[in-house]
């Protein structure tokens, strides 16, 4: 087995071990505090842990299936995320063609470009071409009511749910000397750091959280959770240097950047939810809410991580 393959298996076993630990803790907490299922926090914790098993299994399978598996997995994530996002927008009948185009042409084309590693096009396809052509399609119907709001919402949805999310599989196209065939581990690094940062912010917040950090946006986020979560995610990222082309210090700095972007991504997406008057983006993932509730931190950190690594380490 290649070095990348054995590192990947080691990593999956490690994540599996963490999940077994989490499930055990969840089980003990349930026995002690919520034997009849009446403690909402414990029930939600266990629902979240169970959902993590499924998400890790899906990502694991995609990783082992290689490039095509990863592109398809994130393509479907983009589809579900875009569906959640557009559901909450002000679109009208006149946007029908433009929306059909977003779902059935722009999304698949973007992922096809990522799969074929055409960096020159996938990095501008949505910000330039979709940006200009979507409002043209909408204008054909002649409905001017809230026109700017509608086209801006659709463009934003595409940028967040498709363009940003597609930078996760795009990490596979970076050409880093001495790191050939190991790029999938860059995705593992990004996803593990950003998701652990979310989880640890939640854990630190539940254990020690007192001071709300953004009470109007996200009442459950605390200063203690933020500091503890970002600091521990940074340390874990530094400790994962062996799966990356980075040094320990570089891995820690990149992990810090990812965690910070992820935190603010969560805040921005919360602000949108508050504006639309909903608590969660959807109900796709038991205990977590919608897919965007889980993906918000990833989409904000992925493009920054991609470009930092591309600028600093990649030949292409």
């Amino acid at each position: 087995m290649s070095a990348a393959g054995s590192d990947l298996l080691l990593l999956l076993f490690g994540v599996g071990g963490v999940l077994i630990l989490a499930s055990s803790i969840g089980f003990v907490l349930k026995q002690r505090l919520s034997p009849d299922g009446s403690n909402a926090v414990i029930e939600n914790l266990n629902a979240r842990i169970n959902a993590w098993w499924i998400m890790v299994a899906l990502i694991g399978i995609a990783f082992l299936a290689g490039r095509v598996g990863v592109v398809i997995l994130f393509g479907f994530c983009s589809f579900a995320a875009l569906r959640e996002f557009v559901t909450l927008t002000n679109t009208r009948r006149a946007d029908h063609w433009a929306l059909a185009c977003a779902f059935f042409i722009i999304l698949p084309v973007q992922y096809y470009l990522v799969a074929t590693e055409w960096y020159g096009l996938y990095s501008i396809f949505i910000p330039v071409y979709a940006f200009l052509f979507m409002p043209i399609m909408a204008v054909f119907r002649g409905d001017t009511e809230r026109f700017l709001v509608r086209i801006a919402e659709v463009q934003w949805a595409l940028m967040i749910c498709v363009f940003c999310a597609s930078h996760v599989p795009a990490l596979l196209s970076l050409d880093i000397p001495g790191y050939e065939d190991r790029n999938v581990l860059l995705i593992a690094f990004l996803v593990i750091v950003v998701q652990l940062s979310d989880v640890l912010q939640y854990v630190w917040g539940k254990l020690f959280g007192k001071t709300k950090i953004a009470p109007r946006l996200s009442p459950s986020k605390t200063v203690e959770g933020f500091v503890g979560g970002v600091a521990s995610a940074t340390l874990i990222g530094a400790g994962l240097w062996w799966i990356t082309p980075f040094s320990v210090l570089q891995a820690g700095l990149l992990a810090f950047t990812i965690a910070i972007m992820g935190f603010f991504g969560g805040l921005v997406m919360s602000a949108i939810k508050r504006d639309r008057g909903v608590k969660d983006w959807g109900h796709l993932i038991g205990g977590h809410g919608g897919l965007i509730d889980r993906l918000d931190s990833v989409v904000f950190s992925a493009p920054i991580f991609f470009h930092l690594v591309r600028f600093g380490w990649s030949l292409t």
């Binding site: 557009v86 002000n90 679109t91 059909a100 779902f103 639309r276 008057g277 909903v278 796709l284």
Partner: protein
């Protein structure tokens, strides 16, 4: 053979509806209705009863038949196959002048055979900005004339009109919900207007509040 094919098509339609709309049922506190009942729902799209059908547990789905206009579902052989064979629709003739069978009699035969029904009391698809069109009398007549004890379950279908507005052929993937309310029972000698107002209110009470109100 035809029955098997119809069953395969019905599974495909349900899978497709779920893939596009990620439809989710919201049941009342008492849970899904246990026995025979009449579901009455808002109507804005041809896909309405497919969504209700998709969220019903399979054992309830096989005993639930939509009530639909014969003029539309007998129009072509494809319509006829989907309407009669796949969904086993109870077809009623809407045109008062030309019809040969009384719709109430047709529906009550289906009830007597043990089926639950899905009924759209607005009578036609709502293409206006109003949340509901005024109810026709069918629901009242059916319950009063044949089975006054049958539970009448209000069902609000949300968002499907945005997925596929009239005249469009490509559905937009958007998340839909189907909200079931507590069953109503018609009171003995309840007046028509009073009952219809009560049923309308029960249905409107299930509609989610419009987006963007903030909190």
């Amino acid at each position: 053979m035809k029955a098997l094919f119809a069953r395969a098509v019905s599974v495909m339609i349900v899978v497709f509806a779920r893939a596009v709309t990620a439809v989710r049922a919201i049941w009342p506190e008492s849970g899904p209705p246990q026995g025979q009942c009449i579901y009455f729902a808002n109507h804005s799209s041809h896909g309405d009863f497919i969504l209700i059908w998709s969220v019903l547990p399979p054992w309830m789905r096989v005993r639930t038949r939509p009530v639909a206009g014969a003029d539309y579902w007998l129009k072509s052989s494809l319509n006829r196959f989907i309407g009669c064979d796949v969904f086993a629709a109870v077809l009623i003739e809407r045109d008062r002048e030309k019809r040969l069978q009384d719709p109430i009699a047709v529906m009550s035969d289906a009830l007597d055979a043990g089926s639950s029904l899905i009924l759209f009391p607005e009578g036609t698809r709502n293409e206006t900005e109003a949340r509901l069109l005024p109810f026709r009398s069918g629901l009242y007549n059916l319950a009063m004339a044949t089975r006054p004890d049958i539970p009448l379950v209000p069902v609000w279908i949300d968002n499907l009109n945005r997925v596929m507005p009239k005249g469009e052929i490509v559905p937009i993937p958007l998340i839909c919900t189907v909200t079931f309310g507590e069953a109503l029972i018609i009171a003995p000698d309840e007046a028509r207007e009073i009952f219809l107002a009560r049923a309308t209110d029960a249905l409107l009470a299930l509609a989610p509040k419009p987006l963007g109100d903030g909190q």
